[in-house]
């Protein structure tokens, strides 16, 4: 990370203000006026549009292994997704993924 303190605080301040404005948008400013339905539709897909694209390169080319595909990390990622889809529960998915990662790392260290 190569940001100055001032730059980091700028990020925090703008992100805080921006996030508040998003949350305040309708309740505080726009009110009950109807929004174009296509815009609402687009908004609904933002988490599944941003997060997978952010995480995919980290799974395929982990910086910690110098960018080469790592079977341990790939396994942990697949288990996380599978448990997340199966249980619909964020916490179980994290626990399953972390357990997979650490038990696989433990096993390779032993072998």
């Amino acid at each position: 990370m190569t940001y100055s303190d001032a730059q980091i605080w700028t990020i925090i301040a703008i992100l805080g203000a921006g996030t508040f404005l998003i949350r305040f948008s309708f309740l505080g400013l726009i009110g009950d006026r109807p929004m174009p339905s296509f815009v609402l539709r687009l908004l609904r897909f933002t988490p599944v549009a941003v997060l997978p694209g952010m995480v995919a390169p980290l799974v395929i080319w982990p910086p910690a292994t110098g960018g080469t595909l790592d079977p341990l990390r790939l396994c942990a990622a697949l288990v996380t997704v599978a448990v997340g889809i199966w249980t619909r529960n964020v916490l179980w998915a994290i626990v399953a993924g972390a357990l997979t990662l650490y038990s696989a790392m433990g096993l390779t260290a032993l072998l």
Binding site: M1, T2, Y3, I8, W9, I11, I12, A13, L15, G16, G18, T19, F20, I22, R23, F24, S25, F26, L27, G28, I30, G31, D32, M35, L40, R41, L42, L43, R44, F45, T46, P47, V48, A49, V50, L51, P52, G53, M54, V55, A56, P57, L58, V59, W61, P62, R73, A76, A77, T80, A82, V83, G84, I85, T87, L91, A93, G97, A98, M105
Partner: protein, 240 residues
């Protein structure tokens, strides 16, 4: 009407909200702690990490910002990625208008600050099942749900940041963040349109990996949102 009757009118819904918010401590506490650990690992100071949890108070976007910062993306891209993750909250804001739109401005501002996934989902479910609730009761309930969650969010961020400094490299913390993202997003993939958006997001982001940090992700996210919306319209059209 005396002050004490006002108090009793709103104290029942407040404590009902408090009880309904309690289970989410189980989720907020570990989440916040991991954020603290990752933030320390990335090089943030204690004050900066706490600044994120107090001022932004939105898990996924805080992780997204740190991830982009680790990649040394330009400030604009850090902000764009993190704010994009929060855009769904505009929907939450819109959904609360019929229930809380008549509340005073300071209450609407406070609700907005505390409007994250858990408070929103729990409160709207309550409002829908009890249409007889008054606006002050609804506000009290919402505030009640947030009360047990927020102190843990902030406090456990601090615990994570302090503990994070003592965690050795061998713990592969680099991969805890991807696991968090995958765990957050997997339960959200609940329709064919979501699957399509996810696939487009992944493939475009991987294809454009050579572009400056953040650029490929932005294009991927835009293409994925459009795909999700269009696929959804297409499916709805076929069902008619």
């Amino acid at each position: 009407m005396t002050t004490s009757t006002v108090k009793t009118q709103t104290s029942a819904p407040y404590w009902a909200g408090f009880r309904d918010g309690l289970p989410f401590i189980l989720m907020a506490a570990p989440f916040a702690m991991v954020f603290g650990v990752i933030a320390t690992d990335a090089g943030l100071t204690l004050a900066q990490g706490m600044g994120f949890s107090v001022l932004v108070i939105a898990g996924a976007s805080q992780f997204a910002a740190i991830q982009m910062m680790i990649e040394n993306a330009s400030i604009a891209f850090v902000l764009l990625a993190a704010l994009a993750v929060n855009l769904r909250m505009a929907m939450y804001s819109a959904a609360l208008v019929p229930y809380l739109g008549a509340a005073p401005l300071w209450k609407r501002a406070l609700v907005s600050y505390l409007n994250f996934d858990q408070t929103y989902i729990v409160s709207v479910a309550r409002y829908e099942s009890r249409p007889e609730m008054t606006v002050p009761e609804r506000f009290a309930y919402f505030f009640g749900v947030a009360t047990p969650i927020v102190p843990f969010w902030v406090g456990m961020t601090m615990v994570g940041m302090v503990a994070g400094a003592a965690i050795p490299e061998a713990w592969a913390l680099d991969f805890i963040m991807p696991i968090m993202f995958l765990a957050m997003v997997a339960p959200m993939v609940k329709s064919l349109a979501h699957v399509a958006a996810t696939c487009v997001s992944i493939s475009v982001a991987l294809a454009l990996i050579g572009l400056p940090s953040g650029t490929g992700l932005l294009i991927a996210a835009g293409a994925a949102m459009l795909t999700g919306a269009l696929v959804e319209i297409w499916i709805e059209g076929r069902q008619k």
